[in-house]
């Protein structure tokens, strides 16, 4: 009996540390329904495409990467892979902006 009691007592310390860590696991999330982000829709994809086209029209020689990215992005958005398309279009925009800054 004594052995068990001692065992429990000794384990108490690391267990309490573990529980403390577990408490840090998930913060209070008392929200009923999460808010929706609006920049992941096909409409947004169209908006980005418009922007890209606008900037390409201004530039004389757009780099081939931009063309590739925007074509690819548009294709993916049409096929429903919205996030991937948006990402490519954004990258194209950044490249165009960098080119304009130079």
């Amino acid at each position: 009996m004594k052995t068990h009691a001692r065992f429990h007592a000794v384990l108490a310390v690391p267990l309490s540390i573990g529980l403390g860590l577990a408490a840090m696991r998930s913060p209070a999330a008392g929200q009923s329904t999460p808010d929706r982000v609006t920049t992941d829709t096909p409409q947004y994809c169209m908006q980005l495409l418009d922007r890209v086209s606008e900037l390409v029209r201004i530039r004389v020689h757009p780099p081939s990467e931009v063309t590739d990215l925007s074509t690819e992005g548009q294709r993916m958005c049409d096929q429903g892979q919205t996030r991937g398309g948006i990402m490519r279009l954004r990258r194209a925009l950044i490249l165009l902006r960098q080119g304009a800054a130079r």
Partner: protein
């Protein structure tokens, strides 16, 4: 002397401790049930305290490591995110200051368009919380205060992720919400927490095992010591604490205890010797005195005869008293209490004094007494005791020298100490008797006819031992050579 007073209390205390925490009820039939009820019994056992301290240290170190790990990874991510959000807020407020609301809206759109990582959240709302710009559907109801970090779930492309955001209020009453997706960090946090929980369990197991190991090591060593002490207290004086051979602190403790036990045995032997010798050798002069008095009472006729008998008896009693004094002196020296009075002194004048004191006697006996010592000979110890020891040796040498013989008193510094040699050319002590010559009351055959109780050499030996030195008796061919060695250093025998 009451025997009961002789049982040393510390050993009894050890025995009692063996009943309590150390025995753990395994080998002691008399463990009190009282201590099982007290919740503090855990802390009364020293070995358990040590084990607990070890476990606590291990757990604390592990916790410290975990916390550092957390801070360096998930914490770092948090700090980076917060910094980025702050920088964003800074930039946006500058834009608003430059170009007002339209510029702000444009900037927000631009930033969203350039957010390749797709992790940013912006929301610009008017004073009544209507959405003006940004990529959040509506203002989250729970975000009410500025300067507070909120972590709220958001839906991105059909997936619920976590975002960390903060509200900033513009001077015109508009509200800005800037945030970042921290799902990665959340996942990392979960991973880390899981890993650390497992680690905590492992640490707990290791701590327990380690604690038990420490405790058993502790108990084993102490059990060894306490068992030996208990055996000695019970009367088995041959027991000694076992050494592990590693030379560590426990071994040093064991050696010290063994030295102490050796000394106790030696002292007890000394006491036994003395009581035997007293019983045997003091009876003789006491009997003689008594006989003379009885004889005088029966047979003396004149007052002069009575007076003479009384005076002789007084002289006998004085002789007995002198023997007692010498015995007490030896006992006092052996008890070691004089060691606290040790000091540095010069041996050279001491030897000269002793030689001068006995020089007259030697001359009368036509025995030569030569002193050979350096002008200065520093020594360390009790000056009076050393003086008496040397005097005893010289007295013996002169006493047992034949007329025309030579007594040499020589002293020199040797490796780690001082050596005093007294050599005579008398009858000497046969090899077989030399070991016993330093016992109390021992008188060899050759000495039976000379006055003395046989305590001289015993005293010299006691003085030598008190100084952690030695007394050697050698054959001077012919005669006896007594070599008294005293260590010169304060930290015990060097040589």
């Amino acid at each position: 002397m009451n025997d009961r007073q002789c049982s040393p209390p510390p050993l009894e205390g050890l025995g009692r401790a063996a009943d309590q925490g150390w025995g753990e009820g395994e080998n002691t039939p008399s463990s009190e049930p009282r201590h099982r009820r007290s919740p503090l019994w855990l802390f009364r056992s020293a070995s358990l305290r040590f084990a607990f301290v070890y476990a606590l240290l291990l757990a604390t170190s592990a916790a410290a490591l975990a916390i550092f790990l957390w801070w360096a990874t998930a914490g770092l991510l948090d700090r980076q995110t917060d910094a980025a959000i702050h920088a964003d807020a800074q930039g946006l407020s500058e834009r608003w200051a430059e170009g007002g609301l339209p510029a702000l809206v444009l900037t927000i759109d631009d930033r969203l368009a350039g957010n390749v990582d797709d992790d940013a959240i912006y929301l610009l709302a008017d004073p009544i919380m209507r959405r003006i710009a940004g990529n959040l559907e509506r203002w989250p109801s729970t975000v009410r205060r500025t300067d507070v970090w909120y972590e709220l779930p958001v839906r991105r492309a059909g997936i619920t992720t976590l975002a960390r955001m903060q509200r900033y209020d513009l001077p015109n009453g508009f509200h800005l919400l800037i945030g970042r997706d921290v799902q990665v960090r959340a996942r990392l946090r979960t991973l880390l927490t899981d890993a650390l929980l497992w680690a905590a369990v492992i640490v707990g197991a290791m701590a327990t095992a380690g604690a038990l190991l420490v405790r058993s090591m502790f108990r084993r060593t102490l059990a060894n010591v306490s068992a030996t002490a208990a055996a000695i207290a019970a009367g088995d004086f041959a027991q000694r604490v076992k050494l592990s051979g590693r030379g560590d602190e426990f071994d040093q403790l064991a050696e010290t205890i063994n030295d102490m036990l050796d000394r106790i045995v030696r002292l007890m032997d000394g006491v036994r010797q003395v009581s035997n010798a007293i019983a045997h050798d003091l009876r003789t002069p006491i009997t003689r005195a008594r006989t003379r008095l009885e004889d005088a009472a029966l047979h003396a006729h004149s007052p002069e005869e009575l007076q003479a008998a009384i005076e002789r008896a007084t002289a006998d009693l004085d002789g007995i008293v002198a023997v007692f004094q010498a015995l007490l002196r030896i006992a006092e020296i052996e008890a070691g209490s004089r060691r606290s009075a040790f000091a540095r002194f010069d041996l050279a004048p001491l030897l000269a004094d002793v030689a001068e004191l006995y020089g007259a006697v030697a001359e009368d006996k036509q025995v030569g007494l030569a002193v050979d010592s350096p002008d200065r000979l520093p020594a360390y110890g009790d000056r009076d005791l050393v003086q008496q020891a040397v005097a005893n040796l010289v007295d013996n040498a002169v006493k047992f020298s034949p007329p025309g013989g030579q007594v040499r008193l020589r002293a020199a510094a040797i490796q780690g100490g001082v050596e005093i040699v007294v050599a005579d050319q008398g009858a000497g002590i046969p090899a077989g008797d030399r070991a016993r010559a330093i016992e109390r009351f021992f008188r060899g055959e050759a000495a039976r006819s000379t006055p003395g109780a046989g305590l001289g050499l015993a005293l010299v030996q006691a003085v030598a031992q008190l100084h952690l030195g030695s007394l050697r008796l050698e054959d001077a061919g012919p005669g006896l050579r007594a070599v008294l060695t005293l260590p010169a250093r304060e930290d015990g025998p060097g040589g």
